[in-house]
């Protein structure tokens, strides 16, 4: 498995604040690699260090075989970057924006014409080619930004929360486009705080407070979760929560409609029985069942638990 990005002990401080706390990273080629994490977990800072926008306080980075930031200029020719904010020019039209980016990447006239026609077709931009970017909707801007980031056929795409301002349908379409790029051999690193997006990645790193809390394929992460997931159905969930809050083995609770999702210590031998016993006084008819972990459970187990030293009872 060939590696597109490799980082060792990557650390970045802003004054006294440690944004990225010495992470190791290996991103395989021609895959979608996801950074999942809440705001402030160090996703953007890491991406910016990978493209040479920020210099690491410590650690080494190699991108496409080049050492960053020393060889950042070389890497930049092979790299497409989509910033968190829409960063093309609002007062230029779709075509003008694309043409400008082509020129910046030094494409000759023939290539320019061909690539622009391709991207306008692939990303469904023909309808507003003459429209100024500032008047486009969130989804249209996203497609324009992706079109601009791929004009020079980059080997690596860095996407920093690309879909945070986009509706679900447009997000689906956006991901279809990403898979099309991967099929052509592009490596994509994408940061997100959406679970459904994280689930689509080939591999995933869960970032929390500048650390990688968990790393691997999404299904594997769900299997390896450091907790047992129990689902409880009951008429009076408030009472259930009150009771479970006193059970030491319970690490986290989250309500989903009329069900309660509970993370329990893995060491607990018969979690269903224990919980049923605990609830006997309050909610005798409670349905208690062991279920498979979702990515959200993985995320909660990996982040909240670690922070609270193992015990967290989300109210």
């Amino acid at each position: 498995m060939s590696v597109a990005i490799s980082a060792r002990g990557l650390l970045r401080q802003f004054g006294k604040v440690v944004a990225v706390a010495g992470i190791d990273l290996d991103v395989p080629r021609a895959q979608i690699y996801g950074f999942l994490g809440p705001n402030g977990s160090g996703k953007s800072t890491t991406i910016r260090m990978l493209c040479g926008l920020l210099v690491p306080t410590k650690g080494t980075v190699s991108v496409l075989g080049y050492e960053v930031p020393r060889e950042a200029e070389t890497v930049r020719r092979k790299l497409g970057y989509m910033t968190q904010r829409f960063s093309l020019w609002d007062d230029l039209t779709v075509t003008e924006n694309l043409d400008f980016m082509c020129r910046i990447y030094g494409l000759d006239r023939a290539t320019r014409r061909e690539r622009m026609a391709d991207r306008i077709r692939d990303y469904d931009l023909a309808g507003f080619a003459k429209q100024r970017a500032g008047t486009l909707s969130g989804g249209e801007r996203q497609r324009l930004a992706l079109a601009a980031a791929t004009l020079h056929d980059p080997e690596l795409l860095l996407l920093d929360e690309p879909t945070s301002a986009v509706d679900p349908q447009n997000r689906r379409d956006f991901w279809e486009n990403l898979f099309a790029l991967v099929a052509r051999g592009t490596t994509i690193l994408v940061s997100t705080h959406y679970m459904d997006e994280a689930e689509r990645c080939h591999r995933l790193a869960i970032l929390d407070l500048g650390h990688i809390a968990a790393e691997g394929e999404p299904q594997q992460l769900a299997r390896d979760i450091d907790a047992t997931v129990i689902e409880i159905e009951c008429a009076d969930l408030t009472a259930v929560r009150r009771v479970l809050a006193t059970v030491p083995a319970v690490r986290s609770m989250a309500q989903l409609g009329n069900r309660l999702h509970v993370l329990v210590h893995r060491e607990l031998a018969e979690p269903e029985r224990e919980l049923r016993a605990a609830l006997a006084g309050q909610c005798a008819d409670a349905r208690v069942e062991k279920v498979g972990a979702t990515l959200e459970d993985v995320f909660v187990a990996a982040t909240i638990l670690r922070k609270a030293g193992g015990v967290e009872r989300a109210a």
Partner: protein, 365 residues
């Protein structure tokens, strides 16, 4: 050639955006014209049509002729007659009249004997430059001549007295080129990079292969052109409306202007590497602008300033450009004659460019 194409791509994009920003574009043309009209007409020591009131205690044909002569100079415009000295003072107090003309009852005898003033001019000292006017009027021959029949025509000489003032106006217009260029160049360029930083465009741009030099030069190029357009505009308006002479060669003037434009742009660029927001950039540009206007010899003579202020003025590019431009337009000097201030401008340009280039990194930290 890719190097140059990238630079041109940036410049073309910048020019296109500028063309779409109607307010800014309007400022580029509007500011010079407005400033020209404002400074050219308002800052004018050639005083005309000052409201005057007459207290004619003599009431002879000679006194009426005297008042008529004073009016004919166009310096004074008689707006009223006072019946008494008190009434005259009231009129001046209210501001109805800025000048009071008091003609003695025995005007003809006083003129004939010549030992006492025949006419008294009361001047409102609260108004600037009226004192000079009184001096001028006081030396009007008719009021000093001792002989009878003194009311002859040589009152045109008063206009001569005011020529120095007219020359001041002529002096201000060339200096306006530098002042206006300072305003537009520094403010627009300091904003140009900060705006892209604020809107997030810069984060994208600096992750592309574009180099620092291409980015900075490409951004400045359209403004150089704008600076030259403004220079032309000011010269044309100065010529058409104010009859400002052009003693030297236009080539020298444009070359000098080019160096100054570059210096002002470099200053704006340097500001843009420090400022985080457009508002900060504007404030910083303003901080450099005020001393430029006040200390560069644009309005106040450089020689009259304390050494401290002269020291500051030496650092300002406008000081040296004013020197160059006045030399070329008014004294007919060549650019070679003005090599000392020109050299100082070049030094300023080099220092600012190095500072800006040193501070501008293709990074966010």
């Amino acid at each position: 050639m890719i190097w140059f194409e990238r630079l041109l791509a940036i410049a073309a994009k910048e020019a296109r955006q500028l063309g779409r920003d109607r307010v800014t574009f309007g400022m580029i043309i509007g500011v010079p014209v407005l400033q020209m009209l404002l400074f050219g007409y308002a800052i004018n020591f050639d005083v005309r049509d000052v409201d005057a009131a007459v207290l004619d205690q003599s009431r002879t044909s000679l006194s009426r002729q005297l008042v008529g002569d004073l009016q004919a100079t166009q310096v004074l415009r008689v707006v009223g007659e006072a019946g008494s000295e008190r009434e005259l003072q009231k009129m001046m107090q209210r501001g109805d009249a800025r000048v009071g003309i008091v003609i003695a009852p025995d005007l003809e005898r006083r003129l004939f004997e010549g030992d006492r003033p025949a006419v008294q001019l009361l001047v409102d000292g609260s108004q600037p430059s009226l004192e000079d006017l009184a001096q001028g009027l006081g030396s009007m021959p008719v009021l000093q001549r001792t002989g009878a029949g003194a009311a002859g025509p040589p009152h045109f000489e008063i206009r001569t007295e005011y020529n120095p003032a007219r020359r001041t106006a002529v002096q201000i217009v060339p200096a306006l080129i530098g002042t206006i260029l300072t305003m537009t160049m520094v403010i627009f360029t300091s904003g140009a990079i900060v705006r892209e930083r604020e809107r997030g465009n810069l984060e994208l741009l600096i992750t592309t292969p574009v180099t620092r030099g291409q980015l900075l030069a490409g951004k400045l190029l359209p403004y150089v052109l704008i600076g030259l357009i403004q220079t032309t505009l000011i010269l044309a308006v100065g010529r058409l409306l104010f009859g400002v002479p052009m003693a030297g060669r236009l080539v020298d003037l444009y070359l000098g202007a080019l160096v100054f434009i570059a210096a002002a742009l470099a200053l704006g660029l340097f500001i843009s590497t420090i400022a985080q927001t457009q508002f900060q950039a504007f404030q910083m540009a303003f901080v450099t602008m005020l001393p430029s206007i006040l200390l560069s010899g644009f309005m106040f003579p450089f020689e009259g300033m304390p050494a401290f202020a002269q020291g500051i003025a030496q650092v300002l590019p406008l000081t040296h450009f004013n020197e160059i431009i006045r030399g070329i337009t008014l004294r007919g000097a060549t650019l070679a004659d003005m090599h000392v201030p020109l050299l100082k401008l070049v030094v300023f340009l080099a220092v600012m460019l190095s500072l800006a280039a040193a501070r501008f990194r293709k990074r966010l930290d």
